[in-house]
């Protein structure tokens, strides 16, 4: 029944995940890490890093990984675990896929509806809080182990905000620093 649980959790995340991949992170963290323990906190952070370096949207990457890990931790074979990732990944896409197919005929009218656009303004405003929460939840002693972590954080922030350096380059630089120091 893990299949159903996986499917339901990722349908929920897919239906509520407004405002892009980063705003989706707190939803994933609450369901996948805190409630269902399909991944540890460390695995979640490492997965975000892996997502930055590999192709594909962060939502898809986490669904695939969580599905695999959940099945494996529950004692299933690697083959069944792949089936778990298929279920999780497809479930994540189901709500918006249905929504698009159902309303594509009159989607232009829906968008012009004033209540709909008001709701969207509300959500857009809150996406700031959701992304901030994702960032804050990573700022703990597990991820920041000493003063060097703080220097890496500050350097990465400067490169990203001021110089618009690509995330892959930043992750690579941080990995090299990690290899040299730890």
């Amino acid at each position: 029944m893990l299949f159903f649980r996986l499917s339901w959790v990722f349908i929920k995340i897919g239906a509520f995940g407004f405002g892009g991949g980063y705003a989706m992170l707190p939803l994933i963290q609450e369901e996948v890490v805190e409630k269902n323990h399909w991944m540890s906190k460390e695995q979640f952070v490492d997965l975000i890093a892996i997502s930055q370096m590999t192709p594909g949207p962060i939502g898809i990457n986490t669904a695939t990984y969580a599905g695999y890990n959940a099945m494996l931790n529950a004692g299933y074979s690697p083959f069944m675990s792949i089936a778990g990732s298929v279920v999780a990944t497809v479930s994540l896409c189901i709500p918006s896929f249905l929504l698009i197919t159902l309303i594509s005929l009159f989607i232009a009218k829906v968008r012009q509806n004033k209540h709909f656009s008001a709701a969207m303004t509300g959500i857009r405003l809150l996406s700031v809080a959701l992304i901030a929460l994702a960032a804050l939840s990573l700022m703990n002693s597990d991820n920041f182990i000493d003063y060097i972590s703080i220097i890496i954080f500050a350097g990465a922030l400067l490169l990203s905000v001021k110089y618009k350096t690509h995330p892959i380059i930043i992750v690579f630089l941080a990995a090299i620093i990690g290899l040299l120091i730890y």
Binding site: D46, P57, S96, I100, A119, A129, A132, A135, P167, I170
Partner: protein, 179 residues
């Protein structure tokens, strides 16, 4: 046509690294160059995508696919965006636990973790700029953040309240204007 859509979006999925919005220039180049959509149509689809939940890249693929060849098109385009990242993550998931036994992988990730935190602060700053947050309008996301962070309010609830809040605010200001 569905097969061509599938292959095109597989290629797009393979080259989207770091964030969903990275797909926009890729899709624009491929789709508009093949004359599947005009530029205006494409930008309209992007605007629609911004008010849909879920994964941006898959949503835009679904919309483009639907517009080009109906339900078959939307299914093959959406599957196309998923397939490459799916297999890459499966490979990583299968080998990552073994790789972590090597001390150098552990060291590299000790360096990477604080950088990941910074990589999420960065889109947060862009979202603040995009919403043109002032001290007044900033109260709403700030309250939401405190509720979720300190009082463990579920982010799912916060999203529902965000929708309702937007609608109520709109009705109240419309009434004030009418008076």
């Amino acid at each position: 046509m569905p097969l061509r859509l599938f292959l095109t979006f597989t290629r797009i999925g393979l080259f989207t690294i770091g964030g969903g919005y990275a797909v926009i220039p890729l899709i624009e180049r491929d789709i508009v160059a093949r004359e599947w959509l005009t530029k205006d149509e494409f930008f309209e689809l992007i605007a629609i995508c911004e008010s849909l939940p879920g994964v941006f890249a898959t949503n835009i693929a679904t919309l483009v696919g639907y517009k080009v060849s109906g339900l078959k098109g939307s299914l093959s385009a959406a599957l196309g965006t998923i397939i490459a990242p799916f297999f890459i993550i499966i490979l990583i998931a299968a080998f990552f636990q073994k790789a972590q036994e090597h001390s150098w992988v552990t060291s590299a990730f000790k360096g990477i973790r604080p950088a990941v935190a910074a990589l999420i602060v960065s889109p947060c700053i862009s979202a603040i700029r995009l919403n043109r947050l002032t001290y007044k309008s900033g109260i709403f996301p700030a309250t939401a953040l405190v509720l979720m962070w300190q009082f463990n309010v579920s982010p799912f609830l916060i999203i529902i309240f965000g929708c309702l809040g937007g609608v109520v605010y709109n009705i109240v200001t419309a009434q004030k204007r009418a008076e």
